[in-house]
Symmetry: C2
């Protein structure tokens, strides 16, 4: 887990910001909770999601934690600049939360468990601090949901490098589709996993630019050095794969990707 | 009272969700045209879609054609049994339609062009008989959109056999994602391609049964003989792949597939 923490690099922070700006509506149109609710956001990183959900729920109180002190400081500064006053930021470990049992109305966790080898322990700990009849929301991507036109074997292989690197770090880049069984095994009730498909073609140039080009392809491009040095792929194939991914953002190109947003109740 | 209301709305939401999560609703909730419109359904087969769209649009007139006289006869009988009286069935060739230019208000074509080596000629011919400012709707699946849990390399390889067999017959099983560029190249305007994702987990047993098990997996299972005799796969791998696909319909299983519904206007 230490080898990959969201928000560590400037580039990563920029990427996450691009992502949340273009995906606000797809991911967060229903991120609405009852006034007065106290919500724990676990693994907030530099606050890319925090600012969206905090601004959408001005009458809720958020407690946003992250393992990285540096990320928490950045998140706090960003919130300050936006005049957000309903979030308390705190450095904390998701596996050992500094909170009593059953005190939060809701748990929100986005783009985190895909990186956690022992996500089961994290979810159990989150469930501990959740009130009875409280709800959890988990949002994750799923790299196995990526397909596009023009089709390209090399682009597929480049994406698989990211899946493999994440796997070697104990994560799962294809976790989105699995959130229903994950929440079920964790003992939640009334589980729903809601797919949020991103479909980008030239009728939506902002989404092509913001998602296909600057979020997904930029992310895959960012693992070039590691993928090649770990011998997962040769440089020529990787470069061709990236070039082909950029073609899916060009004229006649199409890119599809699905995020999953799952909810459950602690009964 | 509040908890009663809460419980009621939860049940109501579940009911509405169940309803909208049947395949017919996913594909046809917006297959609605103006009263009085005359609609050409090209390649109606035995009328699987015809009966849905004809019953949803009782004040429209449908002309449903297919190249197969046998299929047309079956479609006509099925419509008769359902008391459908707003469809005229006719054996006809999609490449040489027996109609004058510009006489239809709308063209509907579902699960057809994926099988046509020269789908461009078919779409051009359909466009010929469409009125100026008339609209076209194309519905297609996309086998590259299938992913599931538990993940399985063998299941993926079994699906790829279907993709390859269709390719050898001049078709394209991954055509759904490409409908935007296809309609653009055909000269249509105001094109929109709308993904219709099927997400099936055990919270929706009807969809698991109706789609994962009896539609998708049954379809792949049906190519066993051909796939093996054409040496696309060995029997053991294929059988394991099918067995793994059935697991995605079992406890803890998840299956995802996306249909695409594209529309355009003839300007």
């Amino acid at each position: 887990m230490a080898s990959y923490v969201h928000g560590y690099s400037e580039r990563e922070a920029k990427r996450l910001e691009d992502q949340s700006n273009t995906l606000d509506e797809i991911l967060h149109n229903d991120s609405i909770w009852e006034p007065g609710n106290v919500i724990l956001e676990a693994g907030c990183g530099t606050g890319a999601q925090t600012k969206i959900i905090a601004l959408k729920n001005p009458l809720c109180k958020f407690v946003s934690i992250d393992i990285s002190e540096e990320s928490i400081n950045k998140a706090r500064e960003a919130a300050l600049l936006l005049g957000i006053s309903n979030v308390e930021f705190r450095q904390a470990d998701i596996f050992k939360l500094p909170y009593e049992d059953g005190i939060f109305d809701h748990i929100f966790i986005c783009f985190v468990i895909e990186h956690l080898p022992d996500y089961k322990a994290a979810i159990a700990e989150l469930k501990r601090v959740l009130k009875l009849n409280g709800t959890i929301t988990i949002v994750e991507g799923d790299h196995g949901s990526a397909y596009f036109s023009p089709e390209s074997r090399d682009a597929y292989l480049a994406i698989q490098c990211q899946v493999e690197l994440q796997r070697r770090n104990g994560g799962d880049a294809n976790i989105g589709r699995k959130l229903y069984p994950i929440l079920k095994e964790a003992g939640f009730d009334c589980i729903r996993n809601s797919p949020r498909m991103v479909y980008a073609d030239e009728s939506n140039p902002d989404l092509v630019e913001g998602f296909t080009r600057n979020t997904f392809t930029a992310m895959i491009e960012g693992i070039r050095k590691e993928a090649i040095s770990e011998n997962l792929i040769d440089a020529a194939t990787f470069n061709k794969g990236i070039s082909d991914l950029y073609k899916t953002a060009g004229t006649g190109g199409v890119f599809c990707y699905t995020f999953f947003k799952a909810t459950g109740i602690k009964k």
